[in-house]
């Protein structure tokens, strides 16, 4: 069963940094459930902050971040983490995996801290995603023996293993060569779109821009395009 793809509604979102500096200001934003959205902008514009805020890793100063019926902004960190664990998959820029674990263990990492009833499902799903991403049969290999592109695919499998309705990706192709970047962009968008997941990726990569349903620009912490596209 695929996790519930959820519509995102953001309003009056304000995130401040050290010394009260405004990092992000979003008056209103809606993203349809199941769409693939790319966020782009110059360095320091607040793209990652935006993504981390949507993931509930940053508590905003004010505003609402509604995933479906759930506004995660006012939730305590433990509740936001639980929401993230249940509903979101995350892919980071630098193919962050646990090198000393195998590909299968990395992909199924959520099984370590999920309830006993979910552990088996997460492991099965992780194995399936590894196969779909071309890493079938090498699941028992230690992750530090894989190339950068392969590790990023392990990270994608990890993001999908919990069967989330939302995929968030922070520059997922930035540390890959062109071939690997193209392949990952294709995999990411295809896997999200064909299974009706909402994908929001921060990226400068045209390969992702070309495949996205919608592109949002951020400059100086403000969205230049905010209407539902």
């Amino acid at each position: 069963m695929i996790g519930h793809a959820q519509k995102l509604e953001v309003s009056n979102l304000r995130v401040t940094g050290d010394g009260g500096r405004r990092l992000l200001s979003v008056d209103r934003l809606e993203i349809r459930a199941g769409s693939a959205v790319v966020v782009r902008g110059p360095s320091g514009a607040g793209k990652s902050t935006f993504l981390y805020a949507l993931a509930g890793m940053i508590a905003p100063e004010t505003g609402q971040i509604c995933w479906g019926d759930t506004d995660i902004a006012p939730l305590p960190e433990a509740a936001r983490a639980a929401f993230r664990c249940r509903n979101m998959g995350f892919v980071f820029q630098e193919h962050l995996v646990f090198e000393e674990l195998s590909a299968a263990e990395n992909a199924a990492i959520a099984a370590l801290y999920s309830g006993r009833a979910l552990r088996g499902k997460i492991r099965d799903r992780a194995a399936t995603e590894l196969v779909r991403l071309g890493l079938g049969g090498v699941g028992t290999r230690r992750s530090d023996t894989f190339s950068g592109g392969e590790r990023q695919r392990i990270a994608v499998a990890r993001a999908l293993a919990g069967d989330p309705g939302i995929i968030l990706a922070d520059e997922p192709t930035a540390s890959l060569d062109r071939d690997n970047a193209d392949r990952l962009a294709e995999d990411l968008v295809t896997l999200a779109r064909t299974e009706g997941r909402t994908l929001i990726a921060v990226s400068h990569d045209p390969a992702l821009h070309d495949r996205a349903d919608r592109i949002i620009d951020i400059v100086d912490g403000r969205l230049l395009e905010g209407a539902d596209g």
Binding site: R84, C85, F90, E100, L101, I109, L112, Y113, G115, R119
Partner: protein, 436 residues
């Protein structure tokens, strides 16, 4: 409750104490790890930080070994010295230091003691409540074995029956301790004095012939040569303890007028009460009567005080080492901060990160403590063997409940302290750590 506890056998009480000491750690472990499966990441963490983990574990092991080794060694030494003094019910000597007299008479340590005269010895020997009295004459040696002049009765009492051969019957016969490298039929010439200053040939051509071997006693007497007291006096140019009408049969009774003196006399009484009575009766201005066991108990009490001080020092060392290790862990977790932040970013609860960090620290502590326990006992056995080789007092240091209790308490306490670095890890800023 207390009545039930005291009604239990000692081993069961010790097990209960151990479990009681470990309970806080077990409770914390169950609470912290409940609902999580940290083992793969824990094993990965240990593999990734194998050298740092090994150094931390070694530090804990050494500190635990110090504590356990100390306790085991002290107990082994106490038991060994007590066992060696078992056969010496009451010692009567000329007034002086009881400890010096005990060291000479029981542990055969060379010392200068004033002599008991013949009249006093006769008074002891003829006391109606005395069942055995034997003079002990020191000062000669063969190689590193002290030659002790005494009576056949004492040899019989000490050995509880020879391992081989028979008791001496003439002045030139000797009994060898179990660890003396002489067999029955071998001869040896005694030197005057002991150690490096011994004068070889000082007693002319006089030689003893070994006629019996004692069994192992676990005391310094195992490397002694026991000879008739008459021969010790004779080779030193003194009367041999018997008058002109002596029939040539060695051993008591001795003639007070021809008794050259003895540094100490072992006395056995017909009963425990009689032994106490004799001790009181011969504690006079002319004589000093003491129970080696009592003197030893005073020494052990002193050793016990020292042990307590050293135990406190050992515990302080353990706590300091552990504090150092935990401080190191805090630094280590900063190195691991990005990985731990990644877990949180993926949706792992803070408590999982807490559980992972704590279980890493607990693993190092438990492993270090277990290795330290083994190292402590091994070191204690080694030191015990060295003491045995030097003093012939058999010191056997074995693993005992006090060491287990010490380690259990240590593990429990430090396991609780390890909650602190785990907590600090849990509270680190997620985004800062994630960005590295």
């Amino acid at each position: 409750m207390a009545e039930i506890y005291h009604a239990l056998p000692t081993w069961a009480q010790d097990v209960l104490v151990m479990l009681g000491l470990l309970t806080p750690l077990m409770v914390v472990g169950v609470i912290v790890l409940r609902g999580f499966h940290v083992r793969p990441l824990l094993v990965g963490l240990l593999r990734r930080q194998v050298w740092i983990s090994a150094v931390f574990t070694a530090l804990i092991a050494v500190s635990v070994a110090l504590g356990t080794g100390l306790i085991a060694q002290e107990r082994g030494l106490r038991q060994g010295t007590a066992r060696a003094a078992d056969k010496f019910d009451l010692i009567i000597a000329a007034p002086g230091s009881e400890i010096t007299a005990m060291l000479a008479a029981v542990y055969l340590q060379p010392s200068d003691l004033p002599l008991l005269d013949g009249a006093t010895y006769a008074e002891i020997a003829q006391h109606p409540r005395v069942s055995l009295v034997a003079p002990l004459g020191f000062g000669d040696s063969w190689r590193d074995a002290p030659v002790v002049g005494t009576t056949a009765g004492f040899v019989d009492h000490l050995s509880e029956g020879l391992a081989a051969g028979r008791l001496f019957m003439t002045e030139d016969e000797a009994i060898a301790g179990a660890r003396v490298s002489l067999d029955i039929g071998d001869s040896f010439a005694p030197a005057h004095g002991v150690g490096d200053t011994a004068e070889h040939g000082a007693h002319g051509d006089f030689a003893y012939r070994v006629v019996g071997k004692m069994p192992m006693t676990g005391s310094p007497w195992d490397r002694a040569l026991l000879v008739p007291i008459e021969s010790v006096w004779s080779v030193h140019g003194l009367a041999n303890g018997h008058g002109p009408d002596w029939d040539g049969k060695i051993g008591p009774p001795f003639s007070p007028a021809h008794f050259p003196g003895t540094p100490a006399a072992l006395v056995r009484a017909e009963s425990l009460g009689a032994t106490y009575s004799l001790q009181a009766e011969f504690s006079t201005a002319r004589t000093m009567a003491f129970f080696p066991g009592s003197v030893l108990a005073r020494l052990h009490a002193l050793m016990g005080d020292i042990r307590q001080v050293m135990s406190v020092l050992a515990v302080i060392t353990q706590v300091l080492v552990t504090a150092g290790v935990l401080a190191g862990l805090m630094m280590l977790t900063r190195l691991l901060a990005r990985r731990l932040a990644l877990l949180r970013a993926l949706g792992a609860p803070r408590r999982f990160v807490f559980a992972l960090t704590w279980s890493y620290a607990a693993t190092l502590i438990l492993t270090g403590a277990a290795i330290g326990l083994v190292l402590g006992i091994a070191a204690s056995l080694g030191i015990g063997a060295a003491i045995t080789a030097r003093t012939d007092i058999v010191v056997s240091a074995t693993l005992g409940w006090p060491e287990i209790h010490l380690v259990a308490g240590f593990v429990s306490l430090t396991g609780m302290l390890a909650l602190l670095p785990a907590y600090l890890t849990m509270t680190r800023p997620l985004i800062t750590d994630l960005r590295g």
